[in-house]
Subunit: 333 residues, 2 copies
């Protein structure tokens, strides 16, 4: 059995910089025709100058591949001039509401203090990409933030808002309530729950933010993905950390999946008899929702097993050492 995918896109990706960029960016570019590149470097990518530098860095690290990086800016109080100068070089602006507090009212207030920026983004047609968590109890953060999504979607009906890496049934249900809300979901949140992180022994390699939630949340995410809900896109949130940062106390949050995303999804969609919807989930929905035109590539997967390496350089992938029943056989342009 084989599956052919056209121009798969990863709509939420961390590739870092320097040596880590050189290690991980090709692991995405080898399979994907494009990816949304997150701007959370230290310092963040929040000037047009820094955006151009980072774009050229990502292009350099992925040269030789038919791969288009869709760049983002880190949200701050931008001027109209800055937004105008950035617009043609970004796919959106990523907001992490650092000041949002435990209750969602405060979260709304905090986020909405940036009213004027959202207004300009709406006028200029720049999408808003949001890490939607309050600072509340870890299992409630996304559900509480849904009130912020509601308020944003209502106030800015023409602002395209992406709920990034959603993890709850509540966020899934918002997709059908507001025309201008769409979402990404990670492969790992379709598969794991908090049980996999902390139900047996503690597994730092499955520890991520937002944290994996309850079985009924996973079920809602999975159902929406398997039917390729038209407003849902693959966004892996693949986030490399060196082994020492994951395996020590104070483990950093992030799951590294970049090189195994397509085999994981093939296995998952085939198991549920939904392989006919994989193309929409991994590419067509994103192309339509963002109006992007990635390079034309063809990825052929077959149900030949692959062994997941113990590590890629210093980075330990999800399910290191296990095998998947599907693998990528060929990528052509």
């Amino acid at each position: 059995m084989e599956i052919t995918l056209h121009s798969p896109l990863d709509m939420h990706l961390h590739v870092r910089q320097d040596a880590m960029l050189d290690l991980v960016a090709p692991l995405t570019a080898q399979h994907f025709a494009g990816a949304v590149i997150m701007p959370n470097l230290l310092p963040p990518v929040d000037t047009v100058e820094r955006l151009h530098w980072y774009t050229s860095e990502v292009r350099r690290a992925t040269s030789g591949y038919a791969f288009e990086p869709f760049m983002t800016l880190f949200f701050r109080d931008y001027s109209h001039e800055e937004l105008l100068a950035a617009r043609d070089h970004i796919i959106g602006i990523k907001l992490y509401p650092a000041g949002a507090t435990t209750n969602s009212d405060a979260g709304v207030r905090e986020v909405l203090a940036m009213d004027h920026v959202f207004g300009m983004m709406q006028e200029l047609g720049i999408p808003l990409l949001v890490h939607g968590e309050t600072h509340g109890f870890v299992m409630d953060r996304e559900a509480e933030f849904c009130e912020v999504y509601r308020e944003l979607a209502t106030r800015y009906p023409r602002l395209r808002i992406t709920m990034e890496h959603i993890t709850t049934a509540k966020a899934v249900s918002l997709l059908d309530e507001f025309e201008n809300l769409r979402a990404t979901v990670t492969p790992h949140h379709l598969i794991i729950t908090l049980d996999d992180v902390a139900g047996g022994l503690l597994n730092p390699h499955l520890f991520c933010k937002p944290i994996a939630k309850r079985p009924e949340d996973r079920q809602a995410l999975l159902e929406a993905s398997l039917k390729a809900h038209p407003k849902l896109m693959l966004g892996s949130d693949s986030a490399p950390h060196p082994r020492h940062a994951k395996e020590a106390p104070g483990c950093a949050a992030g799951v590294f999946t970049a090189p195994i995303i397509l085999p994981m999804l093939a296995e998952l969609f085939v198991r549920h008899g939904a392989e006919q919807n994989l193309q929409a989930f991994v590419s067509d929905n994103a192309r339509r929702l963002y109006g992007v035109n990635p390079p034309a590539t063809t990825v052929r997967l077959a149900n030949d097993p692959m062994q997941i390496p113990a590590s890629y350089g210093q980075v330990v992938p999800m399910w290191a050492g296990r095998s998947l029943s599907w693998s990528v056989k060929e990528v052509t342009c």
Copy 2:
């Protein structure tokens, strides 16, 4: 300000064996007049012979202290002869329902397959100590197991059943529903929630089973403890693991608190204006509920700060390196 406690008891304690026993048992015996010693060695303490050996080991490791170990057997399908031979040497039998599955009905069936043993324990007046978790979703395991407690308490109205290390509001509410149910609670579950384990970076030293729950669960445990609910006892579940077993992937579950329990509780009870209830919580309730008579000791605490060591041998305590505002000044017999 000072607090004087008489014969404090830790009604749920792990002291292991060999070098670990020699390290940690004195750290309890220096402050406590007695402790319930858990039988989960490898292999478990599940014969009268092994019980006698372990009792003498614990006595050896705590010799010189006014300290009484209250021993337990590891639950299995014991004969009447075995129970009779053990009865005068144990405070109870500890059940870990290893076969209990995700749903509570199956949990009940599994546990109740041991009907004949519970019946004999009831007749012989041997208390049942229970690790009450199903194999369900990690945040639901104790709440699901409450159905098993209900069934046990109803079927064996004269069997004294201790719900060990409770972590949920639901378990607290059972205390008032069934005369023969009582519970222990750990100091750390009065203080932390899942946020402290996985809400920021991952903290392996606060990872334990049952896992810390939601804020409203902690609140219910705290309220019941601060008023020294007559059926609630301090049981620290202090569980030493060497640093390498806590700080590696596959972190073992357990929080080590033995040497800081009384200062932690003094700080907590004073902060809430409940210091007058500390004696009942740390000793009187247990003496009444179990009918035990520990050595008469007096522990004097003062609000002089103590610095929590980075480690005790290879064992990292809760809050290593932080300071507490209370400390133990003197223990007299």
